[in-house]
Amino acid sequence: MKHEKKKISKMVDEILTYFLFHYNSPAEIKVTPKSGAYLLEFTFSKVEMDKKEFEKLKNRLVSKRVPELEDYYWQLAGELDDSDELMLVAMMSDSVEMKQDAGQVKIKVTRKL
């Protein structure tokens, strides 16, 4: 698929921007190219997020991939200061796992090629 690496960096951009803008969180990001997939792992620290907020965020991010939209709209990801396109990340992901623990939010995103 075309622009694959750029799409990965846009997904990272969108999630990172969201946490920087809303929580100004220290972030660790690991991007692992695997055979047939990319694994994106995020750890955000010092995130003041209550359970309700976490569940809402999870609902926005956990969605199944929509190839018929991602090829068209992927360029919009990561373009705004307040990061409003988390739904796009969901549309570009095959699976998203999220965990919240002691002020840390961990997100694991898999995108198959």
């Binding site: 929509v66 190839p67 360029q75 919009l76 396109e85």
Partner: protein, 418 residues
């Protein structure tokens, strides 16, 4: 929810149009009407109700709508907000510019692009459906150049294929021009593409210009037809929610809280019944807007209403649309444009392409967007000579790209997390 239910919902409307058309007039009259529609140059504003009659127009709209849904189903794409918007837009513009002949080369051109790129057709299908905005390019080259018919048809099909082929990469790229604040992005892309082609044609002495063929003869019929249809959508939404009003209002609240910037899929943000409720409400609001302005329901105005209804599943709701409509009305009252005329009425309806400006930056920004939109939309059509049916989407791209950076600079960034 049954996976086939969204398809049944989306195909039901064009089926109703097709059956209504067949009941309206005898088959030979419909056949003649369809031929007249196909033989029309179809540039803006060509009301097919005036060209081919009501039976043929309804049949044309029904066939195009059904074909769109069959394509979506055949490509195994999901029926979501964007595809609901696409089907309703295709059906709406089948009242003034899209017909069973002029959309085919564009759809095939986009398919050729998908083959060239080695991707599935469904990946470009949304752009292909919206891309039929350039249908008049095919019609005009077929019937209005004065060339021998076989030469004209060949040239028309080649340019239609070319338009369909270039739209997918262009549409994706053009999003960055307005950052998703112009919902009719393919309208902006079609405008650029149309202007490009028309400039070349004009260099070869082919003059393309807008026209105005309109009829208000069927106003009363369509007023009743669409009021019933939109009330039915509201009732259907309540029925689908299984009378769980709490869940329905919760879905509507989530929809109303959305700014509407691309990509705001209300089926996903709310749910299916919430999106249908929003469609019904926006349909009635559009009808009310036309009545208040003293406009009549002709082909373009019906197209405008149906497009608003379709995009009520993909970015538009009362709170981000009304300010823009208000801005257009205010502009029409203080400028040279007459409020009751069809171009102003459709500028108000289609101007809601700028709904995300109101949704993101507030009511005043929305009114300003609508105000400027009227002036811009009345001036950009000349660039593409009316071959881009989504002229308001073309204008909206310029308005959004001008206003959004200014509004962004003036606004203090604030958190609106989840």
């Amino acid at each position: 929810m049954n996976e086939k239910l969204p398809f049944v919902f989306v195909i039901a409307f064009p089926v109703v149009l097709l059956v209504s058309g067949l009941m309206f007039e005898p088959l030979p009259v419909i056949g003649e009407g369809l031929l007249a529609i196909i033989a029309a140059p179809s540039v803006l504003l060509t009301d097919y109700l005036a060209v081919g009659g009501v039976g043929a127009t309804l049949v044309n709209a029904g066939i195009l709508g059904i074909a769109s849904v069959v394509l979506i189903y055949g490509c195994k794409a999901q029926i979501n907000g964007p595809f609901i918007a696409a089907v309703y837009t295709v059906v709406g513009f089948a009242f003034f510019g899209k017909n069973i002949y002029n959309v085919v080369p564009i759809l095939v051109g986009a398919w050729l692009y998908s083959v060239h790129q080695g991707v599935q057709y469904r990946n470009v299908l949304l752009i292909a459906l919206f891309g039929t905005t350039l249908g008049p390019l095919v019609s005009f080259l077929t019937v209005a150049t004065g060339l021998a018919p076989n030469v004209a048809i060949t040239i028309a099909i080649v340019f239609g294929l070319l338009a369909g082929f270039v739209l997918p990469p262009l549409a994706s790229h053009m999003l960055r021009f307005h950052d998703g604040y112009n919902i009719y992005n393919v309208g902006f892309t079609g405008g650029i593409t149309g202007a490009f082609f028309v400039a070349v044609f004009r260099s070869f002495d082919f003059e393309i210009g807008a026209t105005s063929v309109l009829t208000g003869e069927y106003h009363a019929f369509f007023m009743q037809f669409f009021v019933v249809m939109f009330l039915f959508l509201i009732a259907l939404s309540v029925f689908m929610s299984r009378l769980d009003y709490g869940a329905l209002f919760s879905a509507l609240r989530r929809i109303y809280a959305s700014g509407g910037r691309l990509v705001s899929d209300f089926v996903q943000i709310g749910n299916f019944s919430g999106a249908i409720m929003n469609m019904g409400v926006m349909g009635l609001a559009s009808i009310l807007f036309v009545i208040i302005l003293g406009g009549e329901l002709n082909g373009p105005v019906i197209g405008g209403i149906l497009t608003v209804v379709g995009f009520a599943a993909f970015g538009k709701h009362l709170f981000n649309c009304v300010p823009v409509m208000l801005g257009v009305v205010i502009a029409s009252l203080v400028t040279a444009w007459n409020t009751t005329t069809t171009p102003v009425v459709i500028a108000g309806l289609f101007g809601t392409t700028l709904a995300p400006v109101a949704g993101q930056y507030g009511v005043v920004a929305g009114i300003a967007a609508g105000f400027f939109h009227l002036s811009i939309v009345m001036n950009v059509g000349i660039l593409h000579g009316g071959v881009n049916l989504y002229n308001n989407g073309f204008a909206g791209g310029f308005v959004a790209s001008f206003l959004v950076p200014v509004l962004d600079a003036l606004r203090r960034p604030r958190s609106n997390r989840t």
